[in-house]
């Protein structure tokens, strides 16, 4: 018996050895960058070995709060970051709403077509979204301007794309166009899993269609909605960067620059490596804290952890 157990352990170690390439890759690309945090404590200049640069301690972290120019920058960037995240969180019920009404369509064929068509945008890159936005809204080549001119509603094209007004709203619209259909799919599958007897019972009790939606469908979708909402809250300052990167230009930068983009522009475009590493590190720590807060909230309210 003991021999069998040690044989098993030997097998387990052999299996571990077989997976070491993936472990090494994960270590290199996910854990090794943590060592890069040390750059935040130096005044790093590209081309010089890290330890040959002057050690400055917490200077870069302090400058986030002490330096008035940087403080104003950070305040603006945080306003954009949290502002756009909050718009997303405030409208996070939309996919559920779409799924509920899509499920109300009687024709299966029509439902399938809608589902296929509305999920396509999710699978194209942000740069393609930008290109499509260009095709729709640019001054000379854009559909909207051409249509307005040909209908005689405008004399010259308006530059919807470069213009900096309503930037948050525009970014929300692009994100929603890209993601709404796909986000709805999960709810659609949940609706398909709801016990039909519940609807029949409600119908016998004389519930109208809206009452059935409100008292049967919505409550059974709420747990999933709640988990996604908590994850969105955990990602409050993690709104990604591809979309903002492709849509940014000299005019809209003030309203579009979110934390990730700011770090990129500072660190890679203007080579303030040490300062932006400090911002990166701060961001990671705050995100992790938010995740734990969200998880704690989930445990408190639902008695279940989100990860």
């Amino acid at each position: 018996m003991r021999q069998a157990k040690s044989l098993r352990a030997k097998d387990g170690f052999r299996l571990f050895l077989l997976t070491t390439p993936v472990i090494a890759l994960t270590f290199v690309f996910c854990y090794l960058p943590l060592a890069g945090w040390s750059y935040a404590f130096f005044d790093y200049k590209a081309g010089i070995k890290l330890f040959d640069n002057p050690f400055v301690g917490f200077k870069h972290f302090q400058s986030l709060f002490a330096n008035p120019v940087i403080r104003a920058d950070i305040a603006r960037v945080m306003k954009n970051t949290i502002g756009m995240s909050l718009i997303g969180i405030g409208t996070s019920w939309l996919p559920m709403f779409v799924a509920i009404f899509l499920a109300e369509i009687g024709s299966g064929v029509y439902r399938k077509i809608v589902q296929t068509v509305t999920t396509i945008p999710y699978f194209i890159s942000w740069i393609l979204v930008y290109s499509l936005a260009y095709a729709m809204f640019s001054t000379e080549d854009g559909f909207v301007n051409k249509l307005l001119i040909s209908l005689g509603l405008a004399d010259t094209g308006a530059n919807f794309l470069l213009d900096s007004s309503h930037m948050w709203l525009k970014m929300w619209l692009y994100s929603t166009w890209k993601g709404l259909g796909w986000s709805a799919i999960m709810y659609i599958a949940s609706i398909a899993g709801i016990d039909h007897e519940l609807y029949e019972a409600a119908a016998i009790d004389g519930a109208t269609r809206m009452q059935r939606i409100w008292h049967v469908t919505v409550p059974s979708l709420l747990p999933a909605f709640f988990v996604l909402l908590l994850l969105a809250i955990a990602n409050l300052i993690n709104n990604g960067m591809d979309l903002y990167f492709v849509f940014q230009n000299a005019m809209n930068k003030e309203y579009i620059e979110v934390l990730d983009l700011y770090v990129y522009n500072k660190g890679i475009m203007s080579s303030s490596i040490s300062f932006s590493t400090a911002v990166s590190a701060m961001k990671s720590i705050v995100s992790l804290t938010l995740l734990f807060v969200a998880n704690f909230g989930s445990k408190l309210l639902r008695g279940e952890s989100i990860f």
């Binding site: 387990g12 052999r14 299996l15 571990f16 077989l18 997976t19 993936v22 472990i23 994960t26 290199v28 690309f29 854990y31 960058p33 943590l34 060592a35 890069g36 779409v98 009404f101 109300e104 369509i105 029509y110 809608v114 296929t116 068509v117 509305t118 999920t119 396509i120 194209i124 890159s125 942000w126 740069i127 393609l128 290109s131 499509l132 936005a133 260009y134 095709a135 000379e140 080549d141 559909f143 051409k146 249509l147 001119i149 040909s150 259909g181 796909w182 999960m186 269609r209 770090v263 990129y264 660190g267 890679i268 932006s276 590493t277 990166s280 590190a281 961001k283 990671s284 995100s287 990860f307």
Partner: protein, 298 residues
Amino acid sequence: MAKSKSPGDLIMDILICAFFALFSLVCLFPFYYIIINTISDNNLVARGRVLFYPIGVHFNNYLEVFQLKGFGRAALISVARTVSGAGLGVLSASFLGYAMTKQEYWHRKFWYRFFIVTMYFNAGLIPYYLTINNLHLRNNFLVYILPSLAAPFNMILVKTYIESIPPALEESAEMDGAGYLARYQKIILPLSKPILATIAIFAAVGQWNSFMDTVMFANKSSLYTLQFIMYKYLNELNQLAQLIRQNPSYASAAAQIQLTPVAVRFTVTAVVVMPVLLIYPFFQRYFVKGIMIGAVKG
């Protein structure tokens, strides 16, 4: 049971159908608009005449765009990273997922967490950038492939799927003395085809769409991808005009239809989006399956 619908229900049905028709139209129209513009007469496009249907249909733009300097190379890089990234991604995620189902795996709990943590925490953009630089992966094709192989989410998908396969199937092979690799290859891989297809398709789309890695880590034009040159064409009008002039057929009398910057932009967009549009309807069920299994906790 025959259902008779009240007038209120009927109005609601119509409103719902109309809403989804509009939603679908908004999703589809930009693609349609781009495509009709690429196959219409370029002069008419420039004059703003092509709005709802193509006029003066021709396919010259596609032929010309493929001759643009750097386009063929970019297409090659995009295809190469898509194929190798998806292939290796499936291999690494499936074997790791398989290994993680084994209780005897050396310190399984620890290593499982080692992978899961990376889904929720990362060191940040600049530290990652520095790491890639220090590893000399800048301007190296491997920067497109290697980081994508650390994919814990895919590992969870496979693990969840394999756990649903009856263990007896594997045990009988174990009795016959087959080792892990043999069992993985002969029993697990064939049985988990649906989930492997799901991962492959997600990885392929991810690779095809990937674009920030080129921006950050490749400044050699030999590593440019289609997504990246499209980005350049959209943002650098002067360079694009110059590129068009370099095309062999430029200003030759034989070519009746001249390439214009907007024609290049739209045509390249159409070329880049086409693979996704073409494969998506056929693989939709795999995509959906992916999200559903992913929704179940790992």
